[in-house]
Chain length 385, copies 2
Amino acid sequence: MSGFGFALLARDGAARRGRVTTGRGTIETPAFMPVGTAATVKAQTPEDVRATGAEIVLCNTYHLMLRPGAERVAKLGGLHPFMNWPGPILTDSGGFQVMSLAALRKITEEGVTFQSHLDGSRHALTPERSIDIQRLLDADITMAFDECTPFPATEAEAAQSMRLSMRWAARSRAAFVERPGYGLFGIVQGSVYPAQREESAKSLTGIGFDGYAVGGLAVGEGAETMKKMIETTEPFLPADRPRYLMGVGKPGDIVAAVTRGIDMFDCVLPTRSGRTAQAFVRTGTLNLRNARHAEDPGPLDPECRCPACRNYSRAYLHHLIRTEEILGPMLLTRHNLTYYQDLMAELRGAIEAGTLAVYAADFARRQQADATEADATTAPERPGV
Amino acid sequence: MSGFGFALLARDGAARRGRVTTGRGTIETPAFMPVGTAATVKAQTPEDVRATGAEIVLCNTYHLMLRPGAERVAKLGGLHPFMNWPGPILTDSGGFQVMSLAALRKITEEGVTFQSHLDGSRHALTPERSIDIQRLLDADITMAFDECTPFPATEAEAAQSMRLSMRWAARSRAAFVERPGYGLFGIVQGSVYPAQREESAKSLTGIGFDGYAVGGLAVGEGAETMKKMIETTEPFLPADRPRYLMGVGKPGDIVAAVTRGIDMFDCVLPTRSGRTAQAFVRTGTLNLRNARHAEDPGPLDPECRCPACRNYSRAYLHHLIRTEEILGPMLLTRHNLTYYQDLMAELRGAIEAGTLAVYAADFARRQQADATEADATTAPERPGV
């Protein structure tokens, strides 16, 4: 047996309360994975990240293969000792960042060749190489190598791209070295075309994976289309495997996706926003750079348990932002990650209690109660974009 | 009684083991004060700073009067709740930064007028205003307003500057509002001229302060001259008051100054170096940017207790520096501050044991044992320079 698994603990409509088991610990779902692109969740110590409630972090294969290099990380014992995160780590396959960051990309049946955005050096990624890099990094959850279909795409372009990803998924499965406690996830593509989403999901379940990701969303298609695509895909995903919506997202999108049966999420939004003075609070989003916070003795979010809210005023956080002090991003990132983890905990509780619909309605009402100052949630957010 | 005090606990030659008492806690001396220029020790939480062993931090009046403004800090309850540092805080008088940072400076008998380096706005500092700002900030230790005599200065220039500072010291004393647990320090000037140092020290003791600082050093005069000036000044400082060598410094300079009877220090070196990849270790200094650390699985300093040394490899710290991740400055600053605090604890222990001469000789030997990679310790380091 693989030692990697998923237990479905409760349901509330399409929503699921579950538990992913890995060799390095369990992950209560629905779960949000903070993004630690270059083997660090930006502006946080691993102890900070753990204190927010996070049980798993995501690292980016593309960034790590370029710097410091997968072989070097392997020589140093893998990502876990390297970055001092003993818990589970998911790595993406590198495909998405190659498309969004690298230069001179050339896609063939074999894979992708590209130039590093850092130093122009030539590299290649194939399903086999991506899976091998993720093994060298010692990822607990490995993602199949795919092409994240550009948006928008015609039906023909989307189908061609999706079918290439399905052939790469089979090669990823074949290249993956089974180890107890480790898992491999496939990625559903198909752009905004329901028939293609169905075809992709069936292809992947035919191959067989430890979990299934929904890819190619949060790329500009809009919240309504995203919801529709989740609804379209969900019936074709096996109930006994975790489902991961890649690169999502805004808090409201997460609530909507959980309601539609998604178990796992990742997004740079809480961390990136933390470095651009944006804070997620119970009533919406705040821009701490705004002068109206300059003399406000109150906390960022009176309901929040994080150190930024317990120990500091909005006035001090505003001061840190204005003076460009590193403690500003440190505290705001800590807060935003705490907000996301508390959101997930509340969603898990609501599913267990069978009250998710009430929670979701209340969430939407609260978000409208306060003016939203931030622009952080207006753009699609994907790691490395 | 003032509630502010100093107890001399032990002596070893000219060196002193003491304890400063303030209304917000005690400070074991010899002590190093981390610099928290803008009401934050850069890249550290207050909990981080406290964990290094620091009992007091220094904040800069010049920076805080410009941003966020002394009246605003006062309205928010003073520096302690503002920056979440419940322990003692020393503020400088602003004089030094006005000279090194501000534009269009004009010194008169009354004080200094200048333009902010941030937005060109016009400001004035007088002894009375500096003392009032420090009261508004709620500093536990207030520094008299002085002119840090430029270096080099002729004997006549130095005397003129020093005597102005002495008149300002008397005005600072008169402007200081006595409160239980709060103290006011005078600052000895006199450049590199022993007779002027003596005159300045006698002027200040005639006025009467809760502590005495030695100013105008670490400005380029060199280590030998610095030592000579401390030796020249020390006999004229009362034994029952703490002595503070401003803006010093390199670890070796601190050892030398403690040996010569100095009790308190501040310097941006450990924090600034932490943001430029420089680390102080038992055998010298390291530059973590250096490629030779790229695959080194060993700790920064095997003898150090800090998280950077206990939980990470030199290879990982090198990776953080190369990728410009915020965690790099966070961990290196934490390490450097820990190094400085451990140095002070060792000096205190050596004085108590009567073995300071042996410790100082051993310190010098160890520092020569390893090649020094860093350039961090080659330049004089003063806050805000």
